[in-house]
Symmetry: C2
Subunit: 287 residues, 2 copies
DNA sequence: GCCAATCATGAATATTCTTGATGCATGGAC
DNA sequence: GTCCATGCATCAAGAATATTCATGATTGGC
């Protein structure tokens, strides 16, 4: 089954063999034997590419499930004995400030040296869906005040507010506080339309009854920072996050917009790694 | 993993070995090897009994899941090629009339000779929960008119009414029709309090505003029939089902109480066997 | 204290998987 | 069109794994 999944993912017997540290003929044999046992072809081999047959497509997801369950069985047994191992899949919004993520990851590796950490940046909606589906173990996400997430276990991390973030040369940069109306005419850099971060600033302006213009929709925080620094745009960002941005000025808003960061994980069947990680975070936050 | 599950289920290396058609020492070796690989004991062996350790308990459900997924993979591949195999777990209420169940099962075996049929009698609530949980493939159940089942795929089979079922010697047995009020003083035999069948007759009386007395709560339809025949009780039963009961008289009710029989199955991921079965039933019903 | 049942162990055997060498088909370069 | 590179299949041999057989060790019940 590992071979089937490998071939399906790489589209090649040779590459799948390399990935599994065996020679290609081992796969040829195993797949041939499996196909004989099942009485169906799983792959169509043409000399340039390998594709799944319909039967292969039907087989694949359950083969994956079987492998995952087998790994999970191993990890659970290890966890029962105190050893945390396996893979922890973490998702993080681009603007985490609640925890010092590198520090958390370092602590995690120190305490659980056998645990493989797979972290990636993602948006909150995706993460919620993935945690529910069981394809992500842990999500760090940002929520507007009053929003609730259902169907997952969660832990509040921090409360923050949005703040205006400007170039030092910007005429408004000298103010002590700014209202959203002050910013109405500025060109904004913001998150893509689908993201939770964008919804937060949109909601803030909507509540204030102010129309603003988003001139740049950016997926990358680096790019956002560059635009702000060069004076091409302003942004509404979590104040703690903006405070750590070099070369920009952060001005608090008169209209307070509260934002929370929370940690989510599977409510019903968290993996041993997820359980260990949430406990670790809890420890780090309440020393 | 098969061995682990077998040992956990039988509580014995010897019996699990027999079930897997190998000798006991094969299991001893394999389990020892697995425990070595995992670095944990899975079982505590005392010379009289074998019990799971904590690690074993943690391991077991995922081992089961892995085995199930592997079987499912095989079955899906076979199905993609037109062969239906594996196991079909069917649940049936005691009073099915919508289909001739033996005939359906016979047709199923004829068309899918490689499919193992595992049928059992159960109540509607259990079946709905089990189908949702994926531990039952198919449920035949009875519903009161207007009731809805959520979260499962379903197909209406038949519409029926409840009818009074009496001994031939019963004074009311000669009537053409009976009202629920006529039956108020009779000692009733009915289903256990939790079952859907019981709720159906309770609801009928409640709607008619009639108080009745349930003298016998019976799980077995045979017993119910005997009590009716011997004149010790009367019952409200699906008329089609009662009609097929030997030695009783069925009298229609003035207060019409409609009841449906439906077929339910997993909405999102029906097993190949479940898909094939629902199609077969559809064919048999619409010739 | 002995018996019966049960699991563990070790060596021998059987089975299964992998390897390495080679063959065959195919798409692309010239 | 020929030649070459790439990629999967095949075969026999060897390696690794699983099972068996014979036997030992433990223990609960009589």
């Amino acid at each position: 089954m590992r071979y089937v999944v490998g071939i399906a993912e790489t589209g090649s017997f040779t590459r799948a063999a390399a990935r599994n540290f065996v020679v290609q003929s081992a796969l040829s044999h195993q797949i041939a034997a499996l196909e004989r046992e099942l009485g169906v072809q799983l792959f169509v081999r043409s000399s340039r590419q390998v594709r799944l047959t319909e039967a292969g497509e039907a087989f694949l997801p359950h083969a994956r499930a079987a492998l995952d369950a087998a790994d999970r069985a191993r990890d659970e047994a290890a966890a029962a004995q105190g050893t945390v191992r396996g893979t922890l899949r973490i998702g993080v919004i681009p603007t985490v400030t609640a925890v010092d993520l590198p520090a958390v990851l370092r602590a995690c590796r120190t305490r659980f040296p056998e645990l493989l950490l797979a972290a990636r940046v993602a948006n909150s909606e995706e993460m919620i869906a993935e945690v529910r589906a069981g394809t992500l173990d842990i999500g760090f996400l940002g929520l507007l005040d009053g929003t609730r997430v259902e169907g997952v276990a969660q832990r509040a991390l921090t409360r923050d507010t949005l703040a205006a973030t400007l170039a030092p040369e910007h005429p408004l940069a000298t103010r002590d506080r700014l209202s959203l109306a002050d910013l109405a005419e500025e060109p904004f850099a913001d998150f893509p339309r689908t993201s939770a971060g964008r919804k937060q600033s949109d909601a803030a302006f909507a509540r204030a009854g102010v129309e603003r213009q988003v001139a740049y929709e950016l997926g990358s925080m680096d790019l956002t920072r560059e635009l702000i620094v060069s004076g091409l745009a302003v942004a509404l960002l979590p104040s703690r996050y903006a405070a750590a941005m070099p070369g920009v000025v952060v001005v608090p808003l008169i209209e307070e917009t509260v934002r929370h960061e929370i940690l989510i994980w599977d409510r019903l069947h968290p993996s041993p790694a997820a359980r260990a990680f949430t406990e670790l975070v809890a420890e780090l936050l309440t020393p």
